[in-house]
Amino acid sequence: MDNLIKRLEEIVGPAHVSAAAEERYFYSMDPGTMPAAPPDAVVMPKNTKEVSRIMALATEKGVPVVPMGAGLVLSGLTRALKGGIIMDMKRMNRVISVNPASRYAIVEGGTSQGMLQTYLKKHHPGLKHSMPDAPPVATIGGNIAIHGSGHLSVLAGFHTDMLNGMEVVLPTGEIVRTGSCSVSPDWFARAPLPDLSGIFLGWSGTTGVITKLSIKLFPKYKHNDLLVFVCEDADLMPEIISRLTSAQAAEDMTPWMTPKPFWAKGFLHINIAYGGHTKEELTFRRNLLRASVKEYMDKKIAGFLPMPPPQKKRFMKLPSPDLARFADVKKGGGFEYVGAIMGIERFPEAYRAGLEIAEKHGVTWSMGARIIGAGHCMMFFYAYAFNRADKQDVARAQAALEETNAAALLIGGIPWKAEAPAQKQIMAKMDPSTRDLMDRVRGMIDPAGIMNPGNLET
């Protein structure tokens, strides 16, 4: 181990390697329920070359490497399940360039959502990227790697759909490029080439380390507004969502259901964010959205919550502070959720399953979804807050999460960025040929089996 630390120090400098107990403890867990798994060392590279050398060294020594962004995945994907090195990417945080004509930004793998947001606000106020509902320190690379979504997802799909290409360091240390940047100096699209980006998306960091990426940017509207649609019948939700998305006027659509505050209990809400370059455009979009669900308003069975502009402001913050607020309900700093990707038509059963599980386990819950694409699917989440200092509370949340993962799979969904036990459930249900192909791909890319071992294993 001493030799490894020394070799890592030679690559990144002594200030950026640590095997100190307190650092290893700090990097052993995330805010979720998964048990701690400390690494042997933590390393913070500054550039692609350093990443490459670290990977080559790890392969040579057969030491596991766990790439990490901000460590906010909540499901324990950045724990060192088999020891080894956690590669913290936060020093690789440059916004390399922005192409306003083709609307994309090239950033380093450890660039945070907040950094890009701030950079664009300062240098390109007419552009924005899709912010996930995570703290701003969450990294763009990390979120892309797990098929994340954000406030422009109803417009443009998963964040991986907004990816134009990447620079990735393979476990063996080779540096590869995917997308247009593998042929052209420009990073404008993944088409028309074979889409090799997929080898690194949704793999939970088991295939390589993203060192650069190009992400699509979108027009930032001068005028923005929010509607909150409310109904009481979960069975109506698929049709309501279908109608609202058919208007193709929104940037973001996020249903939410929660027993707290108490007045919200029993109601199903959909926050709908939209914008326009002019007031007229804004009103036009609002009218399209309203018209799409007029039938429900006329029947008086659902409608838009009246909210004066000051009340809307908290719902329009990017990223939304509401999940962070919920995460602290139990005052113990514990928060985890099952986010399951599933079809819109599954909404009612997903909701009912969540209610049953929450009641059974007596957990503090909140449910919601983010609609992906024009109603093409959704990320339905079941969030549980718990007190990390209270073991029983943690155990309750753990049991609820495990049951929720099973329920999501049962109704046809797939847990997103699943924690280790849920990964096993997914892999058990997966088509054997698909599992086999995954193994072959990984075996080819990572012959020494050093990339984030313990995850997505068959």
């Binding site: 108490f262 007045w263 308003m297 659902a302 409608g303 000051p310």
Partner: protein
């Protein structure tokens, strides 16, 4: 169900039918149609008025007989199940504004100011206008008049007596000038004063304290502080709220206040008895197009008046309109803050 005080015979004998004929939002082909619709309403039958009503309270002010036509109309809406807003919207707001039972009796001292359900505005209660005031707010003290906009008279009957009891128990029990006099309660919001006077009378709800309208309090206070007044020499556009229709006499007091602080209330088309709704309620009724229309007419009228301030007394009107008003170049401000400005507070 309890009923409001309404005299059908008196209504039937009315020749002007001002309640409907003067309505700014529903058009009638003539007085015959208005008469026919009135008859339907008074007979407990469906009427297009019950569906089209904006619930702006104006008919309550227009009635020459003080016969509570608006309260009666809302009662008929509820009886016939004609809801102006979708059911989940009403139910969720009923829950949102429900009393929470967070009652902590406190020793209050005059002046005691009721901020209704606007805790975010307690910063308005400051010297010199509100020297040494006791303040309370929250849904346990919410006047509940808003349910007139949602065909929920029954909620008013149910909740207002409880609110009165809460106010007495928590703040006013021991704060009367002496054992023979009723304690005074300064109502910051028109709606509260309207509830504890006009609504309470019409709904036969006893009120064991003396409500004081904010304007009356300010008017009197300005006399005490006359030496501190620095006239503002400004022209203002006033957004008269719906609930002021229940207590029109206070509008004259407001004129006196404006005069005392050197403010000219612009003579504009949509003020006084022709005041337009702020648009918040039609949006709750899912009538955004109509709310947009009202907003445009109102704002254009304000701008044309040459006003530099848009003055509100209703916090909800202000929340609804402030941004739009500011975009038009007018400074949105509450009456009390405008007065504080003149007093250097």
């Amino acid at each position: 169900m309890q009923s409001v005080i309404f005299h059908p015979d008196l209504c039937a004998s009315c020749k002007s039918i001002s309640c409907l004929m003067r309505c700014q939002y529903i058009e009638f082909s003539g007085i015959d149609e208005a008469r026919a619709e009135r008859k339907k309403i008074n007979s407990g039958l469906d009427s297009r008025v019950l569906h089209e009503c904006l619930t702006c309270y104006s008919c309550q002010e227009y009635c020459p007989n003080g016969n509570n036509p608006f309260f009666f109309l809302v009662e008929q809406q509820e009886k016939l199940g004609i809801l102006p807003a979708p059911i989940p919207i009403v139910k969720e707001q009923l829950a949102m504004m429900a009393p929470r039972g967070r009652l902590e009796p406190q020793k209050a001292h005059a002046p005691v100011v009721d901020m209704c359900a606007f805790p975010m505005l307690t910063g308005c209660i400051r010297p010199p206008l509100f020297e040494n005031a006791s303040v309370f707010s929250g849904t346990d003290f919410f006047c509940n008049i808003m349910w007139l906009h949602f065909a929920k008279n029954s909620t008013i009957f149910e909740r207002v007596p409880k609110m009165i009891e809460n106010i007495m128990t928590c703040y006013l029990k021991d704060s009367g000038p002496d054992e023979h006099s009723m304690a005074e309660l300064i109502c910051f919001h028109d709606e509260c004063y309207g509830t504890y006077t006009t609504v309470a009378n019409a709904y036969s709800i006893p009120v064991p304290f003396k409500p004081i309208h904010l304007f009356d309090y300010i008017d009197k206070k300005l006399d005490e502080l006359s030496g501190k007044i620095k006239p503002l020499n400004a022209v203002i556009a006033y957004q008269r709220p719906c609930s002021n229709r229940l207590i029109p006499e206070t509008d004259k007091t407001l004129d006196r206040i404006f005069e005392k602080i050197g403010v000219t209330r612009a003579a504009r088309k949509y003020d006084r008895q022709n005041a337009l709704c702020c648009g918040g309620v039609p949006r709750a009724h899912q009538r955004d197009d109509f709310a947009d229309e009202l907003l445009e007419k109102n704002l254009n009228d304000m701008v044309a008046s040459g006003a530099t301030y848009c003055v509100f007394n209703c916090p909800f009107c202000m929340a609804t309109l402030a941004e739009a008003v500011a975009e038009k170049g007018l400074f949105p401000i509450l009456v009390s803050d405008l007065v504080q400005t003149a007093l250097g507070g």
